[in-house]
Symmetry: C2
Subunit: 359 residues, 2 copies
């Protein structure tokens, strides 16, 4: 997922983010010192990937959850937990990029591409490509197992650790299921929003917003009521966030989003926007759209025509309305949660930035 | 890894193995009931893979470690721990097969191949291949995270859980490092045994023998002295086991091993046997061997000539001697460990089967 969540000034989330990054760096430096020498390039590849700026959204939401549950000052355990979430996210992104055969992530070569370039110095091209993919799978595997190692070092009572891991278990399975749906559903363009909404729920709403908030809250000993209240806020907000992402992928200003407005069309990404368009399109529009979506050699004219169809059918406005509804729903849930004022303020700021952004 | 370890009659390891398999089946049935419907094929793919007969070597060694530490009757916790090791091994095999692009495992299509065949019903060939690989990566990821879930459900005191996870953390990182070396070192055929011996140590000796034994012992509260004693037995035995595997891969009877004697040559697998051969070969033999190893279109004549060179240089006999030395070393360590008699007997039987087998 992409886009900006600004950190609210009321909680000192900036210094928290810096401490999370320092924790990751210290952890990986330890691994490098202990690594089997032949395996060093794998560990260094992971360190480089993690150091490249990410927005650290999951750690920040984890800190918000912690404060929502009245956790007090942000201790070392919370920092380690945030680092564990970020390490897990590195795993998810590295493997996703292999599955999607993406070349670029955060303006840099993806891990498998970068490793393939290294291997190409000593191996024939096709073999270097294969080795790059193999190395990236392994680097992702290391990130997953090390995320687990970090999480177990948080230093919690057995009861609290069990509560946190129960959420983590759900989070891991959910994001893998979400990616499985995303991977296997891409090629079928349907007029039903059921499948893309399921992907959004698993891959973004639960994984990016709900579970990090809940994990932070559980670290501070939150009860069931608070976990449910955070969920009631997080799920509609996460859906709004991803729906905005889908709109920006088609209609956004490349100068602001930093990515082409044709990529999602070229990939034939089956979003809610596409489903709504197919549902409302006449025969000619539908044929046009189906010919354009997933066309690797898409022209700017064809892309523009697809955008026009998405607007003319009312689908784009329909997605805007879905965002509006979900944003309102999230704010209502936030109000009903009766959180400490600075936390409510922080989450309100995050919600606004997630639903109403240009990049 | 391959080959047969017979279960000794003194401990009731057969009934333990059956309970481990039932535990895996029950766990995955639970996951299937709870799964997001679109994700069901992934869970079913994992269940099919795990149900196909494996030798369950790691659970069996885990049980031996448990008895070595005087753990008493094999309770549900030990069964769950064995299931967790087997689930982790499913992860390792599924990802290894993707990295090596292997088509067959245990006489059946590998997971990515099987999934690709499914996807080919509804997708173009090249896309189905890609989807098969993506699905297999995800199925491996699920197996890793579920192995963790199983292990945390073993029901141990916090201290003992920490001791077990400390070994598990090492095991996971070691096997990933080993696979990284194996993956990236394959193309360079050197006369030094250093690299193939490192791979053997990480991928087989530690992962397959040492850590499962130690995990079982730690489950029963073993002290440092016992863990070290098990290690002193396990490492040389694991090396002997893999060296035997390498010999069988080249000189074994296909009717007994169930695999072609040319596969390892065709893949250009850089084993200790190959390194010793290169070290002892004259110029002509070396040129011959280098031309044959890794030749995808290898002929039976060329393979036979490679075998002759490996014998004529004394390399094959050298590997036999390394196996003999390591086997003796393992037995000496076993004698010095002063284990309960039935456990010592069981481990002695396993050692003999590992080092002196035909399949």
């Amino acid at each position: 997922m992409t886009g900006t969540l600004t950190s609210p000034a009321d909680l000192d989330l900036d210094s928290y983010r810096i401490r999370v990054e320092a924790c990751l760096e210290a952890f990986l430096t330890g691994k490098i010192h202990a690594a089997q020498p032949y395996a060093l390039p794998a560990v260094q590849g992971l360190r480089t990937f993690l150091a490249a700026s990410g927005k650290r959204i999951r750690p920040l939401l984890c800190a918000c959850g912690w404060h929502a549950a009245g956790g007090g000052p942000e201790g070392a355990g919370l920092v380690t937990a945030g680092a564990a979430l970020e390490m897990f996210h590195a795993f998810a992104l590295i493997h996703d990029d292999v599955m999607d055969r993406s070349d670029v992530r955060r303006g840099r070569p993806t891990v498998h591409r970068g490793m393939a370039t290294e291997f190409a110095r000593t191996h024939p091209h096709a073999e270097a490509e294969q080795l790059g993919i193999g190395a990236a799978i392994l680097i992702g595997d290391l990130a997953m197992t090390w995320s687990d190692e970090l999480l177990r070092s948080v230093g919690l009572s057995p009861d609290r650790l069990a509560a946190v891991f129960s959420l983590i278990d759900k989070m891991r399975t959910e994001v893998m299921y979400g990616q499985y749906l995303d991977l296997t559903g891409g090629a079928r363009l349907e007029a039903s929003t059921r499948r893309p909404l399921t992907v959004i729920r698993y891959k973004t709403a639960k994984y990016t917003i709900e579970r990090p908030l809940q994990v932070g809250a559980a670290l501070a000993g939150a009860d069931r009521r608070l976990l449910d209240a955070l969920s009631a806020f997080a799920i509609p907000l996460g859906e709004a966030f991803q729906l905005r992402d889908d709109l920006l992928g088609i209609f956004g200003d490349p100068g602001e989003t930093g990515k082409s407005r044709s990529d999602d069309l070229r990939e034939g990404k089956h979003t809610v926007l596409v489903a709504l368009t197919l549902a409302a399109a006449d025969k000619e529009q539908e044929a046009d759209l189906r010919a354009t979506l997933g066309d690797r050699a898409i022209t700017e004219d064809a892309a523009e025509r697809a955008r026009e169809i998405m607007t003319a059918t009312g689908a784009a406005a329909g997605v805007e309305q879905m965002i509006e509804e979900r944003y309102r729903q999230a704010l209502d849930a936030l109000g009903a949660a009766l959180l400490p004022e600075p936390v409510e303020h922080a989450l309100r700021t995050i919600a606004r930035a997630a639903a109403w952004r240009n990049s």
